[in-house]
Amino acid sequence: MTGKLTNAQIAWRAAQDIQDGAYVNLGIGFPEMVARFQPAGRQAIFHTENGILGFGEAPAAGEEDWDLINAGKKAVTIRPGTAFFHHADSFAMVRGGHLDVAILGAYQVAQNGDLANWSTGPKGVPAVGGAMDLVHGARRVAVITDHVTKDGRPKLVQACTLPLTGVACVTRVYTSLAVVDIEGGRFVLREKLAALSFDDLQSLTGAPLHVEGDVTDLTVPEL
């Protein structure tokens, strides 16, 4: 397999589906990259679990204020309209269904929307953070991920084998090869790289890909 999207390109594609004025939580790490690619003329309002709504981008090196960080403990900045609040209010926003979108990473996503993204099993120190709250709170839970694991195994699967983060919670997956919706317990293919055949994509996917209506080309800019 040669052609596949970079992480930046996956993040770019996910960013195109975020509406102007949407309240958005981006998971720590790779998903944070989505904020860089907001389409011109749209401005999402970003939420972070540790109690900030409407924060801005990272400050210049040396300008960090370590009381002003995001859930990934990276320094952020204030914008006009920023609000601070405590952790219970922050998760009232999450659990209460007030976020429009949460975009998270994944180890595995099952065709019924089950997500595994917090634990690779009994070894190591388990750490869950806010992921289990986010997957049951945001109105739309999307995943961005490479289509397969580093050793080539499918991440889109019939049933997760790793410990679950949430049950039947993911509705769309943006991968390095395709955009796949989860509807009625099935993967529904919406977009794929033009150079990739359906059969090749299916062979890299651990559960049947269904087609309903058009499958369009997954087109992203060089980044």
Binding site: P80, G81, A83, F84, F85, F91, G96, H98, L99
Partner: protein, 244 residues
């Protein structure tokens, strides 16, 4: 993004018959009189909305605000903790005539049920009301040797609240004890409509001083110098005004 709406009529236009409406205020403090009266105007002009369930700490006082809504026959049911006031005649008459339903909820349970609605907590346990008539029919459970009542969340289609200052994104501050239920109701309603005495651009409210973050607010109407329910009642006001 700009959540400002130009008129009270536009702000309240989509509230439908049979809606559940949370209305901020404790007695007159925090009562969004202008929003309520705009809703009455619409009802008088169009016959809608009616059959409403209204959630407020009280059940109106005198002949303005919630009392005027009840007097016009717009309210089918009240959920409140204290349906008494200095002049409760409007609610009392209809209640005793069986023309309005009442769900009586202890005040702290009312507040917590609304917060739970906003926070995605479908049920919780409280010691309040255990062993009393108001807990009848509710599940009870024992924790650490003490008995508790299970209470359910409260949500609403619409919240009508009054705030002191709001920015275009819907961030709000309140004025003294007029805060009361408003920040909770803003969380628990599908659509939260706020009348604010002062509007500022984003950045005009200190991020530390925001009481209701804009995520909980859908529409903002500027109502400078809002009426105070207590003043209206002391002046013997009625809404709509009775003209000779």
């Amino acid at each position: 993004m700009d959540k400002r709406i130009a008129s009270l009529a536009d702000a309240t236009a989509e509230i439908g018959d049979g809606a559940t409406v949370m209305i901020g205020g404790f007695g007159g403090s925090g009562a969004p009189i202008e929003l309520i009266h705009a809703l009455i105007d619409r009802f008088l002009a169009t016959g809608s909305p009616t059959g409403l369930t209204v959630i407020n700490n009280n059940a109106g006082n005198g002949h303005v605000g919630i009392a005027a809504m009840i007097e016009q026959g717009m309210v089918a049911r009240m959920i409140c903790s204290f349906p008494r006031s200095a002049d409760p005649v409007v609610f009392t008459d209809r209640y005793q005539a069986g023309r309005i339903a009442l769900e009586l909820v202890p005040q702290g349970t009312l507040a917590e049920r609304i917060r739970a609605g906003g926070a995605g907590i479908p049920a919780f346990y409280t010691p309040t009301g255990f062993g009393t008539d108001l807990a009848e029919g509710k599940p009870v459970a024992e924790f650490d040797g003490r008995s508790y009542v299970q209470e359910r969340w409260l949500k609403a289609d619409v919240a009508l609240i009054k705030a002191e200052t709001g920015d275009h994104l819907g961030n709000l501050t309140y004025r003294m004890a007029a805060r009361n239920f408003a920040p909770l109701m803003a969380m628990a309603a599908t659509r939260t409509i706020v009348q604010v005495s002062h509007v500022v651009a984003p950045g005009g409210i200190d991020p530390e001083a925001v009481i209701t973050p804009g995520i909980f607010v859908d529409a903002l109407v500027h109502v400078p110098d809002p009426a105070q329910e207590e003043d209206l009642n002391r002046a013997g006001a009625r809404y709509p005004e009775v003209t000779a």
